[in-house]
Amino acid sequence: MGFYQPAPYQKAAARLLLAALVALPFALEAAGQGFYIGLVSRIMIFALAATSLNLVLGFGGLFSLGHAAFFGAGAYASAILMAAGVGEAFVAWPAVMAAAGLLALAVGAISLRTRGVYFIMITLAFAQMVYYLFVSARAWGGDDGLPLAGRASLAGLGLGGDRAFYFVVLGCLALTLFGLGRLAQARFGRVVQAIRENEARMEALGYPVFRYRLACFALGGALAGLAGALLANLTGLASPSLLQWTQSGTLLVMVIIGGVGTLYGGVVGAVVLLLLEEALAGLTLHWHIGLGGLLLVIVLFAPRGIAALFGGRRG
């Protein structure tokens, strides 16, 4: 893969999409379908989580099977802060991101010394440790998870309403995508992409490869933590299922079907997977089989992911 470069029409398409997403809740409410606002918020949160994994996997070339640890830790951290009376998002969420980022820093500092299948296994092992840590902590709800007393507020404004919360999620996702698009073309982005291509050569050009990888891994963890905090606020619960390795797998599937190393791969993957799940679950009890079949079709006909079909050069 070469360096990430946006497709020529990408900016215009992104603006159009943003405008549509701004109008969407009003349209849904007017049509009496306000219920769907929560569903779209949920999809955008997973889009953010998948995008954070795409930074690590697609741009950094790091096949982590433990990304759910940071996603789930973000959810728990926001619930713990809420229980401690920190309900202001401008305080709580940066703290959540810092906590998830530090956790990723610690996990990365050890796992990034390994390569290939060992890296996959060690990230999985760390994620399982985090999972058991939270599940076994009675104070944090054990198997039941940790409920949130209410939603966070933003600069004093309550986010209890679904529409207000929707716009906060949309803002987080849009800012992340914009920032990631910048990052991918800035020095740092070029360095991690070049390391993905040939780490020994980068070392021989004078780059401290480990440090750049670690920064990429930690940044991905921090963003996953933010997604986790948003999800906990949406559903009112920090659930241990967010920490399970299957959750890491789901995020990986989203990135892979959406497009590894594309800016919008995580978004496309989250939308496709969650909508399919929603649609198929309504049709049949055996929706997992149908989903598996559809994924097979996607992988066969769009092996580089759906987003790559639209011409945006892969990162």
Partner: protein, 251 residues
């Protein structure tokens, strides 16, 4: 006499049962072209790997520019002034030539940190102008926008050299830069190395004996992981052990 730029003492390294390097004492003086020759499997590439920092020795020490670098990582040695090219071409084949060299320029300590997340790297005109300059120096200016993977073999060797130069080394480690090139390309490479040698010290591993005798100020001969001889080119030609071990008695 001044301390040599590179001073290797007692360098040893075994791979399993194979003693690839056995107590090598070796030095490169500032300003010279020092050629390292020897039959296949003698340990030349392994030696380069140790000087560049890609591998760690079992014993021995490496001093560079007056400092002990034995324990330093590869990227630290690059920043100290040691650059290398690879025997097997090792470039970013999906990136353009100018991007390849720009990465080398950007990696230099005087180019500042690469922990920059916002400004598009492509807008850094200075970096790209400098990269274009190195491409010109090795004769690849016209191909700057092409993906490196599309180049002919000899052109990729030249690109390797441009990337190494872009790190602004004091010592250039060249591992068989003529390997696999045609006679014309080899000729151009010799001219290029001769030209570069005015500004940078070179440790040259090479099989092409015409090139070695044309370029080298001193020649060292490595056989089976042991350094059997170091001296002026003329002395190497005459040395009986070298003739037997390497050049063949007819040479």
């Amino acid at each position: 006499m001044a301390e040599p730029l590179l001073a290797v003492t007692g360098l040893s390294r075994a791979f399993g049962g194979v003693q690839a390097l056995a107590g090598i004492d070796f030095s490169v003086d500032a300003g010279e072209i020092h050629a390292l020759i020897g039959p296949n499997g003698a340990g030349k590439t392994t030696f380069i790997h140790h000087v560049s920092g890609a591998l760690r020795p079992d014993a021995g020490s490496i001093r560079f520019a007056g400092a002990d670098v034995t324990r330093r990582s590869m990227h630290q040695r690059v920043h100290a002034g040691i650059a290398r090219s690879y025997q097997i071409t090792n470039v970013f084949s999906r990136l353009s030539l100018v991007d390849n060299v720009a990465l080398a320029v950007q990696g230099r300590r005087d180019s500042g940190t690469s922990f920059r997340f916002w400004r598009p790297a492509a807008s850094e005109a200075g970096v790209f102008a400098e990269a274009a300059g190195y491409l010109r120096q090795v004769g690849l200016a016209d191909l700057a926008a092409r993906p490196a993977g599309e180049l002919a073999h000899g052109e990729q060797r030249a690109l390797e050299l441009a990337m190494a130069l872009a790190t602004r080394p004091q010592l250039l480690l060249l591992d068989e830069p003529m390997a696999g090139t045609g006679p014309e390309e080899a000729e151009r490479m010799v001219d290029l190395i001769e030209h570069l040698a005015r500004h940078v010290t070179i440790l040259l591993v090479e099989h092409d004996m015409d090139a070695v005798f044309r370029l080298a100020d001193r020649i060292s001969v490595l056989v089976g992981g042991r350094l059997v001889f170091t001296g002026e080119p003329e002395a190497v030609r005459r040395h009986p052990e070298v003739r037997r071990a390497y050049l063949g008695d007819g040479a």
